[in-house]
């Protein structure tokens, strides 16, 4: 059968926060996806804004590349402020 395409739904919970992935749904087009997202994912004031994106349009990193992609950051603790020793007497640093 001719299944409706899959859409990913992102919701901004409150003004000032970023959109977050809420889930997915099937819909024939963007407008219907938006309407359905409103019914499926915001029945209890969960959002002030919705994005829908066709799942097929998302490019995702692959779990097998997790090492080369993310491990280099682990060996660079000097990117964090706690790496540096500063005497207690020195304030506002």
């Amino acid at each position: 059968m001719n299944e409706w395409p899959l859409w990913e739904v992102f919701i901004r919970g409150q003004h000032g926060l970023a959109h977050q992935h809420a889930g997915s749904l099937h819909a024939p087009d963007a407008e219907t996806a938006l309407n359905n997202a409103r019914d499926v994912y915001t029945r209890r004031n969960e959002g002030v804004s919705i994005w829908v994106v066709k799942s097929s349009d998302i490019t995702a990193s692959s779990p097998s590349e997790k090492g080369p992609l993310f491990e280099p950051a682990a060996s660079k603790p000097y990117r964090h402020p706690t790496f540096y020793e500063v005497p207690d007497e020195v304030k506002h640093l």
């Binding site: 409706w4 024939p28 087009d29 499926v40």
Partner: protein, 309 residues
Amino acid sequence: MTPDEIFQDRIDRGIKIEPKDYMPEGYRKTLIRQISQHAHSEIVGQLPEGNWITRAPSLRRKAILLAKVQDEAGHGLYLYSAAETLGVSRDQMIADLHSGKAKYSSIFNYPTLTWADIGAIGWLVDGAAIINQIALCRCSYGPYARAMVRICKEESFHQRQGYEILLTLCRGTKEQKAMAQDALNRWWWPSLMMFGPHDSESPHAEQSTKWKIKIVSNDGLRQKFVDQTVPQGEYLGLTFPDPKLKWNAVRGHYDFGEIDWQEFKNVIQGNGPCNRDRLRARIEAHEQGAWVREAAMAYAKKHENKAAA
């Protein structure tokens, strides 16, 4: 370590499994069966309650029941989406439900004869579902666990509205209280059956526990349900249809009688009071909606072509 050993180690360390991660075929298959069965239960579960929307006794009750049934639809959709991340299509799952290959919770094969049944379903059936679902929030598969968290948050109102319906009936006339008692009499045992067979009879239990797809045993969950529900029923002034139900101070739990497993098997095998009705209603809705799905798709394609031109 083999891929299966790495996988098991990850689960043992409490790291969630996500859709694109390696997983053994058995894990994938078990989850597809369990999540789709759960989704089907939410969808078929709309039918017994939908039966009372037009006859709810007040506008307040009607609005509540509509919201609840709409939630069940939403819960079915969250769960279908979670199952789809494992590589099964929505169409396939629906086809399996309609052909009888996939099951749904046997509780929805019982009829809703009176308004008190709507109260009993909320209190007992949703109560039992919540106990099961709270445990599943910790399951090893990320999309399933996340759907469960969402569902648990929403489902608490379902149970409370059901209890409130029964409380109102129990504080009403003698006839109304008798109606509540009758509903408890009919729904109590099927609710206990919702937790499934005894652990000793449960064929996949050990592997599912190892994979953290099953978190607490069937009997453990059932005991928890009995322990928390009996005092609630006593508060209503109702009696449970089980002469063996009794507080056991030594165990610190209620003892209760044996479930009629023959009835359980019968209903699962399709011979409950409403099995044929429920499936017929689902298939009819699906078939009668086919032209809407096709028309919406044709409309979307037409506009896509226009935009491209």
